[in-house]
Amino acid sequence: MTDPIKIYIPKETSACSVGSDFIAEKINLLTQEHKHISIVRNGSWGAFWLEPFVEIEINGKRTGSSYINKDISQLSSIEEFLDDFNKSKPFNILETEFIKQQTRLVFSRIGLHDPLDLDEYFNSGGYKGLEKSFEIGQQKTIDEIKKSGLNGRGGAAFPTAIKMQTVFDQEAKTKYVACNADEGDGGTFSDRLIMECDPYSLIEGMTIAAYGVGASHGYIYLRSEYPLAKYFLTEAIQILKSKNLLGKDILGKKFTFDIELRIGAGSYVCGEETAMMESIEGKRGLVRSKPPLPAIKGLFNKPTLINNVITLASLSAILMQGKDIFSQFGSGKSVGTMPFQLCGNIKQGGLIEVPFGITLNEMIYDFGAGTLNDKPVHAVQIGGPLGIYLPVHLFNTPLTVESLIDLKGSLGHGGVIVFDDSTNMTLQAKFAMDFCQKESCGKCTPCRIGSVRGVELIDKIYNGTAVKEDRILLEELCETMETTSLCAMGGMTPNPVRSIMKYFPNEMTN
């Protein structure tokens, strides 16, 4: 009798973008006659430079090998494939420095299994969080989250429990939970990874949040650029409905909760919570003035809890394992772990979940192994298109919510983009304004017009036609946009521009 063999081939956007679907098709063909071999389409481990990363489990031992730049189309039998695999020095990914140096609390399941395998989800503590929440009741659920110290991971780092308490305290028959899955920041993909590799944890987290605040209907607002995440969420919602984990009387309790998946239509601003609500309501994604806060008057004028994907997925982990798993790390606004997304010009890019306080040097060299093209690192942009560019001499700053605010920036959604020394920083500054010009919702003038003027001014600097007054004008423009824009789009677009003027002054030339 031959030992059963499991071959894991990831089904996740990044892995598929470098050919994992093709490998799966080929192996599927080769294993037609081999009943002892099964193929599992798992999620990705988030170590993207290894993708497509194929693993084989035999006798409980699981090892993997990178199939990047490897052509398997000529293989004629599965024996040949296995032979080739064994010769490639396969290793256990859990023993790599990249994974070993991480503290994966929210991303503890990614890569392990078929993301839609509900039994595996249960086996790894799935729905223990919701059970706990049901056991302790609504207020204590919110208290537990408060004690964990969790702040929103979407970008604004607002205390999650305060939002929940506000929604809970509203006297209203109808309340909503809305998950912001419009992950539009350049250089971020952590929400996508959760949705593609562990969708149940997001849905369980949403269910906990809904129970906590007393909502019976939820929305996931997913950007249209993520078709694979749409597939996984659609399937996951279907499966959970069929198992009574969504819908009426969840886990036998008198609690009803449904989730509707809404797909965006290519607008960056719809990731701003009030614009997102407009879009869910079927309108143009124009930003609303605040107050009223969404927690008091949100979707369809009802109290609405709006959280980012990672924030909601964190609730499952916190309720399952207790508040301490988060509160043991960090202080202030930077409590728990943060999923950083290391990308751009980097050898080993991917998902890095670690406690706050890691430095850019540690991230770039200990995790990332330097730039992809071996050129010196010149700058890092942190926190998406509204985030600041940092020069090498600040790479020892511990990354926390507070330290980035001190640097007049924002940790945002945790994107870290590495640039080498061939980067033209003036063009990067221009792009910040250009992006704002293209994505502004147009409601307020400083954002709509200011960004156009910003592009023009930086263009002058780039072309060498700027006079001294133009630089002063650019600084004044930044101040106007910052202080008078309706939302963070116009208000924070000056951040990258100013950081380049401050830290790369000699490069802000033609």
Binding site: T13, F48, G184, F189, F300, G415, Q428, F435
Partner: protein
């Protein structure tokens, strides 16, 4: 603006009335959904490739709003199209992570190869070229999305090879 709508009529919709009827059926499930206009627009566009004058009129009537209000929503969102699009919609990421590995050059090369500018469609309706900002594949930059497939570590050769494989497969079908 709506010059290409007659194209849809060729696809088995013999008369305008028939066309309106089939759109009505498509959007029916969304009419009672709160905020159902955007899902309805997605569905109509998926079926017909773009949103023409007749579909706008039908949507307006079904949702009990004016034509202008439907157009108001359509024109806000990048994904919604008033013109027929190419068989392959090539979205080239131009966001920061991809910039760090040369997406601007990739964009220039593809523009000159296809002789298309931003958001233009080739005359044979084979290719639409678009710049987009972030496909969420930032650790394997630069990224390009063709219809629903993301191509990581993209270069012009990879894009053209992908297109020719697809074209050959669709000819053999």
């Amino acid at each position: 603006m709506f010059t290409a709508w007659t194209e849809a009529l060729k696809n088995g919709h013999q008369t305008i009335d028939n066309f309106k009827l089939s759109i009505k059926q498509i959007i029916q499930p969304f009419v009672t959904v709160k905020g159902g206009l955007i899902p309805a627009l997605h569905k109509v566009q998926k079926e017909f490739g773009f949103l023409n004058k007749e579909s706008i009129k039908t949507l307006a009537k079904s949702f009990n709003i004016s034509d202008a209000e439907v157009i108001d929503v359509i024109t806000y969102y990048d994904d919604f199209k008033l013109e027929k699009q190419g068989k392959y919609i090539i979205k080239v990421c131009q966001a920061e992570a991809c910039q760090s590995l040369g997406c601007r050059e990739l964009w220039d090369t593809l523009r000159s190869h296809f002789q298309l500018e931003q958001d233009e469609t080739s005359k044979d309706y084979l290719v639409t070229l678009k710049e987009v900002f972030c496909l969420g594949n930032c650790a394997l930059s630069p990224s390009v999305m063709i219809n629903k497939d993301v191509i990581g570590k993209a270069n012009p050769e990879k894009i053209l090879a992908y297109l020719s494989t697809r074209q050959n497969n669709s000819k053999n079908d």
